[in-house]
């Protein structure tokens, strides 16, 4: 009798929480957004380490940029820059469209962004094949491929996110009230474009 009453006392009462404690959510920031912030912070540190290597090769060591007889494919990169900036504009258009409840505007914006991102990546691969040098051709070539390649990997990740966003958009997962998935993907895509502006300016132009 006494063991039965002890067991009954240890049981949770009605309305009490079972299992592990409930996670604490900040009232100011959503977990998914916080996750994207932390991811982007880690990406900034990764790019920072590559830019440090660039700085040491070009400024501290004084390596000629580009090292003769190689040439940087500036024309293709300039076209790519316009493509990527336009893709950011269509991404912004997609987000603004869904905020106003324009589902087809969002779908068109996401599809165009995905196509332009793919065009960027394909022309970068083409640029690599025609560059006339590879990673074994000195410090300049190594840093060139590391920085542009690292950015290319980020475009690939962004395209994967965009692909899922576009599929979800065509399945009707987003609305004027529920479009957080488009918002977060858009933040990442703009971050990738900001990094390209830094890479393009430092590696190709200056």
């Amino acid at each position: 009798m006494s063991s039965y009453s002890h067991a009954a006392e240890s049981l949770p009462h009605e309305g009490e929480h079972h299992g592990p404690p409930e996670p604490h959510y900040s009232s100011r920031i959503m977990p998914a957004t916080l996750g994207m912030y932390l991811f982007i912070a880690s990406e900034i540190m990764l790019f920072g380490s590559f830019f440090t290597a660039y700085f040491f090769v070009r400024v501290v060591n004084g390596t000629p940029w580009p090292t003769p007889p190689y040439h940087i494919p500036l024309f293709v990169a300039t076209i790519n820059t316009f493509i990527l900036m336009t893709s950011s504009a269509t991404m912004h258009w997609a987000t603004q469209a869904i905020k106003r409840g324009n589902v087809w505007g969002m779908r068109a914006g996401l599809l165009l962004t995905f196509l332009m991102g793919s065009a960027f990546l394909i022309s970068q691969i083409y640029e690599y094949m025609r560059a006339g040098f590879n990673t074994s051709n000195g410090a300049f070539a190594t840093i060139f491929f590391c920085l542009t390649g690292l950015h290319g990997c980020h475009v690939f990740v962004g395209l994967t996110i965009l692909l899922f966003m576009t599929i979800r958009a065509f399945r009707g997962h987003f609305s004027a009230e529920e479009h957080h998935g488009v918002e977060i993907g858009g933040i990442y895509w703009h971050f990738v474009d900001v990094m390209w502006i830094v890479v393009f300016t430092t590696v190709y132009i200056l």
């Binding site: 912030y37 991404m91 912004h92 703009h190 900001v194 830094v198 300016t201 200056l206």
Partner: protein, 53 residues
């Protein structure tokens, strides 16, 4: 302090600011390298001020 990644619209605005800043640095550095350095310092200061507003 302004969070440049607070929303998609804010991130897009930040991208436009970065494009304008980079264009100013490139334009100044074409004339003289040190002019480019000076403009870069000014652009970074303005960017910091914009973010801290």
């Amino acid at each position: 302090m302004r969070n440049p990644l607070r929303s998609e619209a804010e991130a897009f605005r930040f991208l436009v600011v970065v494009v304008v800043g980079a264009a100013l640095i490139v334009a100044a550095s074409y004339g003289n390298t040190w002019a480019g350095v000076a403009v870069a310092v000014l652009v970074f200061a303005a960017l910091g001020r914009w973010l801290m507003r």
